[in-house]
Each structure stands twice: as C-alpha cells, then as structure tokens.
C-alpha cells in the first residue's frame, strides 16, 4: 500500500515536521480529509446554502493545498483551514454582488468568532450525533437519507412517498429537533459526568 509506506509515525491535526522537510500530498490529504466535515459545517454556518458552501469548500481546499507550505509546524491545521475558509466566504460573497445571502457580514464575523470558542463543543456534538442517529426509527432514517443523502427536494420526496409536502417538511423538522434535543441530553450527561 503506497499510502502507508510513506510514514508510520504518529500524526494528528497539529502536524509537526522537521524544518526544511517538504510536506507531501499524503500528509495534506490526511489532514484535509480529517478536517473536512468540520470545515464544511463551518462554511455552511457562514453561508447557509448547500451549493454555495460546497463551492467555497472546493475553493478553500485548493487554497489550502497551494498555501500548505506556509502551514506552521505545531499549529492546528483545522484552525488554520477555518481561517482561510473564512476569507474564502467573504470573497465568495463579494463576487456574488447583489445576490441576496441569508446573513450579512457583521453576523458572519460574529458567528465565525463564536465558532472558535465552540470548537471542542462541536466535536463533542458530532460524536453525540452519531449516537442519536442510531436511535431513530427506520422510516426517519430513510427520510434523512433521501433529503440529506440523495439531496432530493422535499417536493420530490413527497411525490415518491405519496405524502403531502407539508407532512415531509414537518417530519424533517421533527427529526432535526429530536436529534438536537438528543444531542443536548447526551452532552449534558457528559458534563455532569
């Protein structure tokens, strides 16, 4: 296996490397892929539109690669990536010009700053989410798969299932709220622990 032949030493998101040693694509890919879910969610909170967020993630990933040599040893890759993503979001908004976006510049900055403080908590949330999703009923999981996984519009799902659009919308809202409450409970348990 090529990918394991290069390094066997431990590495986490605070990648350290000897000065002068070139970073290779393998290291970058591992760091990027490990951070990517968080990074996508981060961008989405600043730019709450699936297509926009994915486009910015694409641009961010390229910028990260191009700038990877500037990545300083001992620093947190994810924090560095988020910083770059933040400016990519601003740049994207600027290019968009008059096209309305859900939240404005001031709110974006407030959200970005707050996210830094919440970083650990968001990691915990991600873990809790996995446990909570397991508790969903099959029909709810199926609905999530269609909406989130396949990216089907609510209208299409409603047609497929022969249900009114409003029913599907309400069901998705109910599932999200249920999951969020479950995450709250799980994290509260951990805090009390």
């Amino acid at each position: 296996m090529l990918w394991v032949s290069s390094q066997h030493r431990p590495m986490n998101q605070s990648e350290t490397r000897p000065p002068g040693q070139p970073l290779n694509h393998g290291i970058f890919l591992r760091l990027f892929t490990a951070s990517q879910p968080y990074l996508f969610a981060y961008i989405y909170t600043l730019l709450p539109d699936w297509n926009d967020a994915e486009e910015v993630l694409q641009e961010t990933s390229l910028t990260l690669w191009e700038s990877f040599e500037k990545f300083e040893q001992g620093t947190n890759f994810r924090a560095w990536a988020c910083k770059i993503a933040f400016y990519q979001v601003l740049s994207f908004r600027k290019r968009r010009g008059r096209t309305p976006v859900p939240i404005g510049r001031e709110a974006i900055e407030a959200v970005a700053n707050e996210t830094v403080e919440l970083a650990q908590s968001l990691d915990d949330q991600l873990r809790a989410l996995s446990a909570c999703v397991k508790r969903l009923k099959p029909r709810d999981r199926t609905l999530l798969d269609r909406f989130y996984g396949l990216g089907l519009p609510v209208k299409t799902i409603a047609e497929q299932l022969g249900r009114p659009v409003g029913t599907i919308t309400k069901a998705l809202t109910r599932i999200r709220q249920m999951l969020f409450a479950c995450i709250e409970r799980t994290l509260a348990m951990e805090e009390q622990g």
């Binding site: 590495m11 690669w65 709110a107 991600l126 809790a128 099959p138 999530l144 995450i183 799980t186």
Partner: protein, 593 residues
C-alpha cells in the same frame, strides 16, 4: 446547556433557514439576533453544524446502516486520531483488512467512496486532487481501488424460530432461516422471535419489541423484552439499550425496555454479566457493574437527570419467555445436519449459515499416494428421505498404508433441541460399493465424538454413542456386521454385534436414542426401509460423565482404509449418507423402536 435560548424565536428562524423558507423579514431578524444575542448565536451554530453533518453522513449512507464504519469514523474524528497509527498491511493480508485500513486513512472521504456518495463526485474534490498532482492521483487511485471494493454482504444473524408473529407495517415479515444483516431493525408487534447471531449467541424477543442487529455480537433493544443465551465461545455478546448496555460473560439473561425507550431492567438467569451505563461515545468510560445469576437491576433517568441511576431490584425469572413454546401444529424442532449445497472444502462450511455450527471439516475429494477418495454432494438416486446427500468412494488399487478421513460438525447445545436432555439421532446410510475392505482397521464410523480437536482439548477420546462397520481383532464381532461400541466404564472398549450384515446396495436407517445424563443409548436399525430392530440399552463409550464430555456436542463421520492390497482386486468402499436429524426424545421413547 447554556446555549439553549429561553425563547423559541431563534429555533423557528433557524429551522426556517434549514427548510429554505427564510423570508426577508426573518433573515433580518436572524441577522440581528446573531449580532446581539450570544445564546442565539450559539444555538444557530450548533443547529447548523448538526444540519451540515447530517448531509455529510447521510451522503455516506452511514447512519442508515448504523454501521461500524460510522462508529469508526466517529472515533477517528473524535479521538484526535492519527491516521498514521495504522501499521502497513503485511503482504498477504486480506482485502477486508486493507479496506479497514483505507477507511481509517481517509476518514470521511473513504466512507463516501465505499458508499458511492455523490458528494465526492463533485468537482471540488477532483480539482483538489488535480492540484495535488500526479503522485497524489496515483495515491488516490490506489486507495480508491481498495476502498471501492464492494463489501460482501455477510449476515450477522439468522432467524431460527418464530411463534405467532405479527410484524409492524415497516418490517418485512420474517420467517425461519431469514438472514439478518448489520443494521436490520425488527419491529415485532406480537409473538416471539428467536435469532442466532453469527458468534453463537441466541436472543429471543417478545413483541411488542423493537430490536436492531448491530453486528455479529451485538444488538440494540429499543423497546420490549428480550432473553439472550450466550455460550462461552460468544462471551462479550452485548445487548445495547438506550441508557445502558449488558455485556455477557457467557450466560443467560433477560433485559427489558419500556415502550418509551426508558426504564430498563436486567435479570440474570445464569452466569454473570457486566452492566454498562453512561456515555459510550464520549471520552469518559461508562460505569460498569457486575451482576450475577439470580440478581437484577433497573436503570432509570430520575427527574430530568440524564445520568442513569442503577438500582438493585427483585429478580424475576417469570418476567421473560425463555423458550419458545412447542406448538403441536408446527413441525417438531430439530437439528438437521444436511449436505444440501456447499462444497465441503472450507474449514468451516457455514451450514446453516451460522459460522461454527456447520461441518467443521471439509469432505472434498483428494488423493494421497496409493489411494483415491472422492466425496461429493449428490442429488440423483437419493436415499430414503430424498434430497441432497453425501457420497463417498475410497479406492486402493495396490500398496500398503493407511487412509483416513473425518468430517464433523459441532452442535448447539441450546439450539432447537436441548442436547442435555434425551434426544434421538436419525440418519440413513447406503452402501454403494464394497469390495475387499476386510483388512484389520478398515472401518466406517458414525458417532458423536470429535476427532480433529481431541489434541489440546480437555476431552479424552470419548464418543457417547458409536456405530461402526469394520473388522476387529479377536472376531468378537462378525466382520462386516454393524456394531455398537460401548465401554465398561473403565475405559475398556466393548463391542455389541447387531447381527445385521453390511451388504452392497442396501440402505440402512439408524435411529439412536441418547440419554446423556444417564450415559446410555439405544440404537435401532431398519434395513431397506423395513422394520426397526432395537438394541441395548448400551453404555456410552466414554468413561467420563456427560458434563465432563460437554454433552458430546458433535457429529462425526470417519472412514479408514488400512492394511494393503497386492493388486489382485481393487479395494473399495463406497457409501452415501443422508441428512442427520436430531429431535428431542418423546416420553417413553427408550422403550419404543
């Protein structure tokens, strides 16, 4: 949590945003809240993080399968992990291993590769890889090649019995023999269902109940009553519940969860379990308590607390259904060791789909110097019961030496038939060819010992019942008569001559009544489907007790060709064996044919 706003406004606004229905007016209000209200801002961030994470995970199909891969990914993400911690795969390691390694290396991305998610096909990832350049692409291709191999669909459990089941509309009605895969959810409205997990554990749950098969050694009980019987080899089998998990240490226990997914209870019938409560996904270790036979505990979330409280409660065995009722209208439960399908080459041929309970040794044809042995599954020219059967032909044209072959399978003591209680073994043998096969040590044996694992085990060679055709020293048994091997209880072998000769072309049906505890067995033979002739009772061949012999949970067929052949005539034994069936002995069977 301090982040939760004390009003519903932010929740409504954020949900509208998720629905894509945020009006301009709502957007303005959201903007204001995000800029001025810290708790609203935090709620917004956390809710949208969840929303975005769902998109990624659903894109991988991960949560719909409750798969181990999701857990691996979560652990990978949460542990600060280190992708490089995986050692390089040794040459010759399995594809499964390489897939696991690949998944951990790429984390989320490889999840998507394996699941075929559309997310990865988006241009951003391609652009990234193009930017990284050729080495990166080669790297990716290699990983993709490994990661894209479709994971084989391996059942983790099988439905072994059902009783008067009514299934929820969301659950496809399942019948005996149905394979269950990781993540299958069973919603039983009423009735009883017994599952056998691949590791050997059995669970019996009673409707109304909702139960998930998580993997080959774990399930999740959302609601209802469940009894698990776990043999020693399946130690570690775990039943998860919303607020607790019961880890088995080789025993029998019952668990229950109310219809709201709360108020769990554990009752231990035999052995010992570990009750785990508290978080399993977080960094903290769950609390663990040992519960022994005759004890019980409840798990409650008291008054708004999220920390489960465990209390000892009165043990109640009567709360659970521990065995399926035997219906007079349904066929008698049986262990059937058949030869349908399969090729017998595997170390453990997975009959009937549960590893470890099939034929543990293969019967494939093979040659050794001077001998030829062909063992095949046949359908034409069936024996009395019809269907597939095993046909064996062993020949020696000339020379000397010993040929021997064994096939055997382990039986489940807690299977459809309780093998600690009296039972009956039935099977038929046809002698297809018999030429010479009269040297000392030329033998054909049917018994319930185990040959391949005697070495290193605590068992002394100790079949219980033992039927043989062959030639013996001292001629105490007439050559080529069916004989029964017994013992005097002091390890001295005794032989009982049936007086029934073994003839080419004849079919012999055997019925063996076995009383393990009493250490006796009663064989009967019918020739050509005719009348039964009963013998015995005969003592077990083993001098040890049933318990010391683990109740002889095996079936074993062995054949030997010994001595030599000077080449005047081919030495040959050909025989066919039909499926071997074991049923519980009816009352008074010992005195009947």
């Amino acid at each position: 949590m301090s982040d939760v706003p004390n009003h519903n406004e932010i929740a409504e606004l954020v949900e509208s945003l998720c629905q894509g229905e945020l009006t301009a007016e709502q957007a303005a209000r959201l903007e204001t809240l995000l800029c001025t209200d810290k708790s609203a801002r935090r709620y917004y961030i956390r809710y949208l993080h969840m929303h975005a994470s769902l998109r990624l995970f659903s894109g991988c199909g991960a949560e719909s399968q409750e798969s181990a891969r999701l857990r691996e990914f979560m652990q990978y993400q949460g542990s600060g992990v280190d992708p490089d911690a995986q050692e390089s795969r040794p040459s010759g390691a399995s594809l499964e291993e390489s897939k696991t390694v690949g998944a951990q290396a790429l984390g989320f991305l490889s999840e998507c590769f394996q699941q075929g998610a559309s997310f990865l096909s988006k241009p951003m990832i391609l652009s990234l890889f193009l930017a990284i350049g050729l080495p990166g692409i080669l790297f990716l291709i290699l990983v993709l090649h490994v990661a894209r191999q479709p994971a084989p669909a391996v059942p983790v459990a099988q439905v072994t019995e059902t009783h008067e089941c009514v299934w929820d509309a969301d659950t496809m009605p399942l019948s005996t023999g149905a394979d269950l895969f990781a993540g299958t959810q069973l919603q039983l409205t009423q009735g009883l269902v017994e599952l056998a997990f691949a590791n050997g554990a059995k669970v019996l749950f009673q409707g109304p109940a909702t139960f998930d098969t998580l993997n080959s050694d774990a399930g999740f009980l959302h609601a209802g009553n469940l009894v698990a019987r776990v043999p020693k080899e399946a130690r570690g089998f775990t039943v998860r519940m919303p607020d607790a998990a019961v880890v088995d240490l080789g025993t029998e226990f019952g668990v229950s969860v109310d219809e709201h997914g709360r108020n769990e209870e554990v009752h231990v019938f035999r052995g010992e379990v570990v009750l785990e409560t508290g978080p399993s996904a977080g960094g903290r270790e769950p609390s663990r308590r040992h519960l022994r036979a005759g004890s019980a505990a409840s798990i409650r979330l008291a008054g708004g607390s999220h920390e489960p409280i465990v209390r000892k409660i009165a043990f109640r065995a009567d709360r659970y259904v521990r065995r399926l009722p035997r219906s007079t209208s349904s066929p008698q439960p049986a262990i059937v060791a058949d030869f349908s399908g399969g090729e017998g080459k595997s170390a453990v041929d997975q009959y009937p789909g549960i590893p470890g309970l099939g034929w543990a040794t293969g019967w494939a044809s093979h040659k050794i110097r001077g001998f030829a042995c062909r063992a095949t599954i046949e359908r034409d020219d069936p024996l009395l019961n019809g269907g597939d059967y095993l046909r064996v032909l062993i020949e020696r044209k000339s020379g000397t030496g010993l040929f021997d072959q064994t096939i055997e399978r382990k039986l489940d003591l807690d299977g459809p038939v309780d093998l600690r209680q009296p039972y009956v073994v039935s099977f038929s043998v046809r002698i297809d060819s018999l030429s010479r096969f009269d040297d000392l040590g030329d033998l054909l044996n049917f018994h319930n010992s185990i040959m391949s694992r005697i070495k290193g085990s605590q068992l002394r060679l100790a079949s219980g019942w033992h039927i043989r055709m062959g030639t013996y020293k001292g001629q105490s048994v007439k050559p080529r008569n069916w004989a029964f091997i017994s013992s005097d209880g002091k390890r001295e072998t005794k032989r009982v001559d049936s007086g029934i000769p073994v003839r080419e072309g004849e079919i012999y049906s055997f019925r063996v009544f076995v009383d393990p505890t009493a250490r006796r067995w009663v064989p009967s033979i019918a020739v050509g489907g005719g009348e039964w002739k009963r013998f015995g009772p005969i003592g077990m061949r083993s001098a040890d007790t049933a318990e010391q012999c683990h109740y002889w949970p095996y079936l074993c067929l062995t054949w030997y060709m010994a001595g030599g052949n000077k080449g005047e005539e081919i030495e040959r034994l050909g025989f066919s064996v039909d499926s071997i069936r074991i049923t519980a002995a009816p009352e008074g069977h010992e005195n009947k044919n």
